[in-house]
Homo-oligomer: 667 residues x 2
Amino acid sequence: MAASMNPDLRKERSAVSFNTELLTNVLDGGVERTRRRKEIEALVINDPDFAHEDVNFLSRSQRYEEAIKKSALMVMKLREYGIADPDEIYWFKSVCTGMPKPVLPVDLHYSMFTNTLQNLCSETQREKWLSLASRFQIIGTYAQTELGHGTHLRGLETTATYDPATQEFILNSPTVTSIKWWPGGLGKTSNHAIVLAQLYTQGKCHGLHAFIVPIRQLGTHEPLPGITVGDIGPKFGYDEMDNGYLKMDNFRIPRENMLMKHAKVEPDGTYVKPLNAKLTYGTMVFIRSIIVGDAARSLARACTIAIRYSAVRHQSELKPGEPEPQILDYQTQQYKLFPLLATAYAFHFVGAYMKDTYRRITGNISEGDLSELPELHALSAGLKAFSSWVANAGIEDCRMACGGHGYSRCSGLPDIYVNFTPSCTYEGENTVMMLQTARFLIKSYTQASSGQLLSGMVSYLNDLPGQHILPHQVAGRPTALHINNPSSLVEAYKLRASRLVEFAAKNLQAELNRRRSKEDAWNRTSIDLVRASEAHCHYVVVKLFTAKLSEIGDPAVRAVMNNLCLLYALHGISKNTGDFLQGGILTDAQITQVNQRVKELLALIRPNAIALVDSFDFHDSVLGSVLGRYDGNVYENMFEWSKKSPLNKTQVHPSFHKHLKPMQAKL
Amino acid sequence: MAASMNPDLRKERSAVSFNTELLTNVLDGGVERTRRRKEIEALVINDPDFAHEDVNFLSRSQRYEEAIKKSALMVMKLREYGIADPDEIYWFKSVCTGMPKPVLPVDLHYSMFTNTLQNLCSETQREKWLSLASRFQIIGTYAQTELGHGTHLRGLETTATYDPATQEFILNSPTVTSIKWWPGGLGKTSNHAIVLAQLYTQGKCHGLHAFIVPIRQLGTHEPLPGITVGDIGPKFGYDEMDNGYLKMDNFRIPRENMLMKHAKVEPDGTYVKPLNAKLTYGTMVFIRSIIVGDAARSLARACTIAIRYSAVRHQSELKPGEPEPQILDYQTQQYKLFPLLATAYAFHFVGAYMKDTYRRITGNISEGDLSELPELHALSAGLKAFSSWVANAGIEDCRMACGGHGYSRCSGLPDIYVNFTPSCTYEGENTVMMLQTARFLIKSYTQASSGQLLSGMVSYLNDLPGQHILPHQVAGRPTALHINNPSSLVEAYKLRASRLVEFAAKNLQAELNRRRSKEDAWNRTSIDLVRASEAHCHYVVVKLFTAKLSEIGDPAVRAVMNNLCLLYALHGISKNTGDFLQGGILTDAQITQVNQRVKELLALIRPNAIALVDSFDFHDSVLGSVLGRYDGNVYENMFEWSKKSPLNKTQVHPSFHKHLKPMQAKL
């Protein structure tokens, strides 16, 4: 490969200050994990069964079929290789789909369907359903959202009415708005769905419960009578996925198809209440912490493509008469890309922290200790929103930093974007998530105000007794800021967060003082509440990135990560100067210093930019980008790629003879 | 239509404070123009020839064919109706493509191809080529960018070498990077292209010149020998367009095919220099001012969809026990959408101003007065970048404000985005544009510093003699800010712009003082230069929006526009508080006041929100959105739409029998 490497990239790689492999190990979580990841990736890369056409040239139906083909192949190969660990499945899937964020119609079978069975089945149910699911005799999905109802679960309209005469539930979609809508794999792939419905028995509604509903005939796969099921139509991306609709008309299922680990309905229709089901919290925390990792990976891929291409692409003149420089040498290009590169690293570490914390707390939970759960829940909601919003915008910035070629599907960037952007909405719409975090922050603030000592990430609120103390308290601080010391910057972010939490809390109180209802006051303060949550999350990210530095053993790697961390923190200040100035956290002069230091850091990072994206270690098959190829041979491969465009199958497109020629004849 | 109108929308429309038709007239530029627009739209809406399938369900090749069919039909109908005015053609096209920003393979024939012939042909050439072009006997495009070369024109590699022996030019694409790449309509549609190439004659290179090059055989449409032409492959949107590549191998064209209005090559190969060709400036100004209008229209469409849907959509609880409120009643939703609505109006007025100014200045130019051209050129570059960046992000914010359904193609929002986003790159990459504006600002600053009196939009720099005077000068100003007076806010934006221009100019000088070369100093200041340009453009937008208010005759319309203008200006301050604080332009207390006032304005605008989007007057055929339907009957139509998904053609997708069933058998 080295022999044919683009000379610019070869030059870049020969002049780096650190060993990229060591940084890759840091990202993977150790040498052994890097080895295992590469081993699993190789299983797919070297397997001719997984060779595939470029999906960009296929119709949606073909893309769906290709995804089904890969799903089936993957299920069998994973079985064959005995791969069952979720991380290892993720690695396998990333390569075999050749997609930036792998999407397959069986995704929900693996995740929500199986997890829900595990969590909500009674012992006898579990035995039956999990066994069928693991052998893919039933293929399932999770049907919660409806055409007219999303985040607000209580609003769901689907009903499950118990009929003691036959010991069945009768499922109905009573309105258009109650049609189940969006679940992945529901349209064409699944033959079963876990359906969330309002449970009615003995004339009373008992709220939402989960039911396992067969929707297609085993064997023939035809929809069952009383079931209307189909694909919801094309979307912004996700062509591979048959997001579906499901309408049920007096569709009967046996009583045993209600998932009865917690609540139960007796044969005679008696409803048995669940015990407190706080543990379902845990799954949400887990899934949201995975999204933080997705944000990191998707942004890392976009950065890899944009930064490599910026080293290969030459344009304009910096000095008259000299050759066109690499566009990566333009300060504006560095300013677009390097803060995003730093962000990708930051989110990677935050995602890993969330996953570890989840594991630790799950341990505590099984020992009955739920004390840390509320904070983790709030944090995971906010960080999910914070990281997905930032990555979402950042991926597009990377795409646009590639000029015209960023618009071509061969860049891979449009697909990274459309695959990632739903993360801002699914598993909790981002603004709603931010407000959940805000609820925790306000509660913590109130507790601190009443003298309670807080622990965890919100402990900074202990210094804020809810009075007008902050500005005086920090009067001496600005001069103490050390612009080259990440820990000092963590302090600045902490002060910003506490100021904005206090600001929101006071505005909320002021609205209450105007005799507004609690809900109305909350709504009228929600802009401030979201800002407070964002500032809190931003602080957490800076804090965790900074904390990671001390864990890095290799001095050369630590030095370069230190610069990235500084860039992340200082760039964030320069983009939110008002917050830091208004709070008296930083002075005018310090802001000017921050802006200057950001520029210096761009220049410091520049020589290692390629090494920093190489360290993400995305194999070309995972990256799926002509612009981001490891060897940098961009242009010849773009030309080869374009020749395969379906429009090039004939020299003259049929529409010429059908439409253009007759028009010419008439004019 | 009213009979079946969604009750929420009916209620909204019954409670507005102004006559939407009057505001529509303001937007169109008068009653008569509104009438004519509707008349032209009706020509298409009522014409069964233009009935078409939903393009969302077609493959790319089918979409291209559909676009060719529409192109041919449109060309014939425009001829039949005698419609030739560019605005009227735009109106016609918007409806007949049913696309948010109409894209057709013949677009470049209408615009760049015909314009270039008009501007660069000699008298005899014009007669020949324009006549062929207007009858579509030749279909043309404009081939400038190459695989390896975009914005920097001098870097283009295509060569046209004159051979006096045969009196021909020999065209060559000497490298992979020199292949012409991206021109719309080049891949399959055009039989001629205007090719920009480096002209060589008598052994000397004379730089870029334009040549008219036949690429396909008239009649058969087969590519000519020596020509390699095709489609560059799928992109992020623009499926209708055959953006193409063109490779030429010793391809000969007659000497007369060089466009010879300015420069000439004599039969013996003697090169005759052009006179000063400053006038080509004009076309760029015109096209960039059209992009400002595009930004306004695209954002207006996205706002129309998101705001109407937010009035129809109900979710969650504001008050326990009460029905779910319209999501438009959430402050966070208003905060997402109303500033964008205000921006759409602002850009609309800026676009109209640019177009008028262009017309006026074109008049001056034909009388030999070029004095205003440099400023207009700089302004159009900056405003193109400013408005397209803001609209680009804003369209996505609108999409995400629609929750899950914003991701469905039936919302129309993904198409608005992918159709609009290339505006950030084409006709001058945005960062490059911002730096062009900065060059003008720095030049103006230098002129003002040396005592020259500036006029036009940069006249505020007259108050800045380049010394450290600003902070003292404005010391008294903050208290004078009237938060409810748009003119007072214009002053604040002016001070911000002048501060940032001065800041950039000083940083540039400081780099020069460090003995950096001019180019290097410019590069090392470019972050500051872009910021200065943005602040300048922002000031211009606030200023023009404010100026428009006094032109609005109807008091009710003026009142609501006044609130929108205030929201635009105050929201801009609240998003850039650092600039206003650091410059001493506003105090901490004023910023807090601004934030509070923004919230109040959201509540004030809320009752007119639907009327404000209705005033844009997008016919449903133009809007192309199920979520944004005028009648608000969203859910039933989403369900109907989804049934047409190609995946629903059969109940069981063939991939089940091919892949899933065999897999199940093996497990």
